[in-house]
């Protein structure tokens, strides 16, 4: 694709020790479009950091090719590679600011060896600090700042060379939820205002839901699922993906709680425990009241959650439907016709789940 700014082809990274070999990334292909916010999600050790460090060749792949900004990075010599890296900003979980420099000097750092006058350099650094909302902190030292502020400085620093790509490796993992949100909002704003393509590594679906358009799910060094966030979120194919989704909608937690309720094990013939998920318009329709009105099926809602994903609302519910076997069947088809995905939850399965936890 002409528009893709990052193209990783058949990337494998193998770490060799004296005794053992570890394949951290295995045959990964990844294309990211210019201007996208692309999420990479996976549990610790999945190989996310190793994979994104291949993008700026901080990690040389054992196999495969890396193209960024129309350049084959593996073909470049050291000094050309350094030039290319300037167009790939990176931010980290632990900020990695220089303690001995002020906030302003930290942001200036990437420009120190550029042919730019000191006053231009400082002007630029000040503009960037303004962009991330830290203009008044230019003379502070990193140790005087909060985590969120440090990450803002790191973002300003990463933008100093006007990069085309910004890689964020768990940049919000050390921050509280509120600060995480504000950093994610800032990233989205930078994506819209500067057009910078963002690659966002995380182990939290929440971050992906908040700003990403596309997502890849990693497990054991491989991408096991990928696509637009809304579709991956509503129709997860792999168990791991489903796990991330359920954790982020709190469905998992809710099911565990419901499983502990003694009433649930006493569901009779005429009752069904189901989870419903729906996308877009259908979430706004009052399908539940329709069930009661048209079919005389009563829905006892145990849990409900609506998310905004990439601008689309996605809802999840857990409910007990009560009716006759016949009307229950009709209720399920009515819901399905309206684009609601139904999964029946067996109370026996619930118990097992709980037992396993």
């Amino acid at each position: 694709m002409a528009d893709s700014i990052i193209q990783l082809k058949d990337i494998s990274v193998i770490f060799k020790d004296e005794q053992k070999e570890l394949t951290a990334v295995k045959d990964v292909n990844l294309e990211i479009e210019k201007g996208d916010i692309y999420g990479v999600i996976g549990y610790s050790g999945a190989g996310k950091s190793t994979l994104v460090r291949v993008i700026n060749l901080l990690q040389k792949p054992t196999k495969g090719t890396v193209q960024v900004n129309q350049q084959q990075l593996l073909d470049l010599d050291e000094s050309k590679l350094r030039q290319a890296r300037k167009k790939i900003g990176m931010i980290f979980q632990h900020f990695n600011l220089m303690k001995s420099r002020t906030v302003l000097n930290n942001v200036e750092y990437p420009l120190l060896r550029e042919s730019i006058s000191k006053s231009d350099r400082q002007d630029k650094a000040r503009k960037l600090l303004e962009l991330v909302g830290l203009a008044e902190f230019e003379n502070a030292y990193p140790d005087q700042l909060s985590g969120g502020q440090k990450q803002r400085v790191a973002i300003a620093r990463a933008l100093a060379n006007d990069p085309e790509v910004l890689i964020s490796d768990e940049a919000t993992s050390a921050l509280d939820p509120k600060t995480t949100m504000s950093i994610l909002k800032l990233l989205k704003h930078l994506n819209q205002q500067l057009g910078v393509t963002i690659v966002l590594i995380t182990h939290e679906m929440q971050a992906i839901k908040t700003i990403c358009h596309n997502v890849a799910v990693m497990e054991k060094g491989q991408i096991i699922e990928r696509g637009p966030v809304a579709s991956v979120f509503t129709e997860p194919q792999q168990p791991l993906t489903k796990d991330f989704v359920d954790t982020s909608t709190n469905v998992k937690e809710a099911l565990a709680r419901i499983g502990n309720d003694p009433q649930i094990s006493k569901l009779d013939e005429n009752q069904r425990l189901i989870t419903l998920s729906f996308v877009g318009q259908s979430s706004k329709q009052s399908l539940i009241s329709e069930l009661a009105r048209k079919l005389n099926v009563d829905a006892n809602i145990l849990f409900a959650n609506v998310d905004q994903i990439d601008g689309i609302s996605v809802g999840t519910m857990i409910a007990i439907l009560t009716g006759t076997p016949d009307t229950l069947k009709q209720a399920v088809s009515l819901l399905t016709e309206n684009g609601v995905k139904i999964t029946e939850v067996k109370s026996s399965a619930l118990k097992e789940d709980v037992a396993n936890d």
Partner: protein, 223 residues
């Protein structure tokens, strides 16, 4: 005064000369060994595994050399190195001749101190600099030596203090300085007051070095 310091009183000039000799030996060897040790300390850190200029051959060679040199007791080093001293300086006696063993005695020690100081720097900061396209030289000067400066100053203070005591050992075999005075006059002629005064002057020197070092380290350590 005469009762308290019966011998020192007649040796004022000798003490002044000896003090200057000690300062001369300490600082000249500190500067030369400092440059060598700093370079080797940096070399050890950048060439180590996952270092910015990883090179296992250079690393293990440097590492072993430093280890071996550090293991030689200074008094033996003085003797072993005498031919080299003679070759470089033309004599093995006197303060200038003492510089050679002092430098060899201290630079491996200092290299380790510098290495340890630099290892304290968060590798994440180095990685960030790499991701911004900094060159290895840029990283050495703008990250390692800059971020590590307070620790390097502390290590240097410690090293210079160790050097002062090495100069006294060298003094015992004819290098001059306060050690020479304390041993060849104070100790050999049973003039106890001479030994004590030599020791006091050395202590004053060491305290002065410590205070200057602490001030400098504080100054460069913003927080």
């Amino acid at each position: 005064m005469i009762n308290l310091l019966p011998n020192v009183i007649h040796m004022k000039d000798q003490f002044i000369t000896a003090t200057w000799e000690t300062i001369y030996m300490t600082f000249l060897s500190a500067i030369i060994a400092g440059v060598i040790g700093l370079a080797l300390g940096v070399l050890l850190v950048v060439s180590q595994k996952h270092g910015i200029l990883e090179d296992s051959i250079i690393y293990s060679f440097t590492d072993k050399t430093v280890n071996v040199l550090r293991s030689i007791p200074f008094i033996i080093l003085l003797a072993v190195i005498a031919p080299l001293t003679n070759y470089i300086v033309g004599t093995t006696i006197g303060t200038t001749a003492a510089l050679v063993p002092l430098i060899f005695g201290i630079f491996p020690f200092y290299a380790r101190q510098v290495q340890n100081a630099l290892l304290e720097i968060d590798p994440g900061v180095v990685e960030a600099a790499q991701s911004m396209g900094s060159s290895p030289i840029g990283i050495i000067f703008s990250v390692y030596l800059r971020e590590g400066l307070p620790d390097i100053i502390r290590a240097s203070t410690f090293t210079v203090i160790s050097l002062v005591s090495l100069t006294t050992v060298a003094g015992a075999i004819g290098a001059g300085g306060l050690g020479d005075v304390a041993i060849s006059i104070g100790y050999a002629r049973f003039e106890g007051d001479v030994t004590v005064v030599a020791m006091l002057i050395i202590l004053v020197l060491i305290f002065a070095i410590q205070i200057i070092g602490d001030r400098l380290a504080k100054h460069f350590e913003q927080f």
